[in-house]
């Protein structure tokens, strides 16, 4: 009777140790790296959208006109639903020139990816801009 109780204690102790170690194992193997596949997809979507917009010089013209609302509308159309973005436009000296946010939601708390695009205008006075598009899957 006494021996059986001791055996049960040992089994319980083993079980407890197994529980703690299995949790430690899960913690170690939990994916702490960013989801690179999802990020690559996001980056591709962002680059495609910017290149499509810049293909015929529309992007440069809209920046020259400081028509940030139109740029946002275009990105809303070109990017799929479920993608959050924030676009920042810089001049060639890397000074931000968009006076209002070009974004569809706040990216804080998201795992974001960033792509850069260099834009030259087709205007007679050629100007250059650098665009940084941050993207994240909407939660």
């Amino acid at each position: 009777m006494f021996n059986r109780k001791g055996q049960i204690r040992i089994i319980e102790a083993f079980f407890s140790i197994a529980v703690v170690f299995s949790v430690l194992l899960i913690s170690v193997t939990f994916p702490s790296q960013p989801d690179l596949t999802g990020q690559t997809q996001l980056a591709n979507l962002g680059m495609q959208a910017l290149m499509q917009l810049d293909g015929n010089g529309t992007l440069g013209n809209l920046i020259l006109q400081e028509n940030w609302t139109a740029i946002k509308t275009c990105l809303d159309v070109l990017l799929p639903l479920g993608v959050s973005y924030n676009l920042t436009v810089y001049d060639e000296s890397m000074l931000q020139i968009n006076s209002q946010a070009i974004q569809n939601s706040n990216l804080q708390g998201h795992e974001a990816v960033s792509v850069e695009h260099v834009c030259a205008t087709q205007s007679t006075n050629t100007e250059f801009f650098i665009l940084r598009l941050q993207l994240a899957w909407a939660q």
Binding site: R9, P34, G109, V115, A120, Q122, T124
Partner: protein, 249 residues
């Protein structure tokens, strides 16, 4: 006392579960906090090359537009110099260099050819050869390409004498971008009267939707020949002009 001794194994187990859940939640918290500050910069080499190609084209278009509207020819070289500099500092994962050569062989000079002839043909063109070189840990590539931006104008004119010096003149205008029909943004037609170019008081322009337009007007032109001129600005802002002598119907 007997009861507490009997339950001590269960307490141990519960304590183990609590410890396990604490460890797990701590780990999840660390992962979530990491997510907030995670921002990865990605740049595909292929995408970057496409961006360089596209931007180079925009620069040549803007420069030809500037030069055809009266700007100095040096604008092309100075714009390309700036573009090369911006590209050179942009790719962060390696060394990249964009070199360019302005076409100098006839009929081009410093990458530009403007010909606004009296034979019904006019052209404003820019031609630049590029070599883009990229070296990083994984890629070592040389990408040669060229950009040819050409706006051409073809005009044909015919006229019919209505009475005396009054003539009904038709001018058929064809606009081409890189040899393909393209729409115009502005069209202006003039006729020659005693060595002066005059704009008709009233003329209509028919748009056929395929880069072809017909301008029709009536004017008093005493000379036996009818000389007309068309000035066109295409959708890219490139100006081109051509003159032609009308044929009687």
């Amino acid at each position: 006392m007997r009861t507490s001794r009997r339950n001590s194994g269960q307490v141990l187990l519960i304590a183990a579960f609590i410890m396990a859940s604490l460890l797990l939640s701590a780990q999840l918290y660390v992962i979530e906090v990491g997510k907030i500050s995670t921002e990865t910069e990605t740049a595909s080499v292929n995408d970057f090359i496409l961006v360089v190609d596209m931007g180079s084209r925009h620069v040549v278009i803007g420069s030809v537009a500037n030069i055809s509207n009266g700007g100095p020819t040096s604008v092309l070289a100075s714009n390309l110099e700036k573009w090369s500099w911006i590209i050179g500092r942009q790719y962060k994962f390696g060394k990249n260099v964009l070199n360019y050569t302005l076409r100098g062989s006839s009929p081009y000079s410093s990458g530009i050819w403007t010909y606004w002839g009296t034979n019904g043909f006019g052209t404003s063109s820019g031609y630049v050869n590029f070599t883009y070189t990229l070296k990083d840990r994984e890629v070592d590539l040389v990408h040669p390409y060229f950009i040819n931006v050409t706006t051409s104008l073809l005009i044909e004119s015919s006229y019919r004498t209505i009475s005396g010096d009054t003539k009904q003149v038709n001018v058929t205008i064809t606009v081409l971008n890189e040899g393909q029909p393209a729409p115009a943004k502005q069209i202006a037609v003039q006729y020659k009267f005693s060595d002066n170019w005059l704009t008709p008081n009233d003329y209509t322009i028919m748009d056929y939707g395929n880069g072809t337009y017909t301008a029709s007007f009536t004017a008093d032109i005493p000379s036996a020949t009818v000389e007309v001129s068309a000035r066109v600005v295409d959708q890219r802002g490139i100006f081109v002009q051509a003159n032609a002598t009308g044929s009687p119907i």
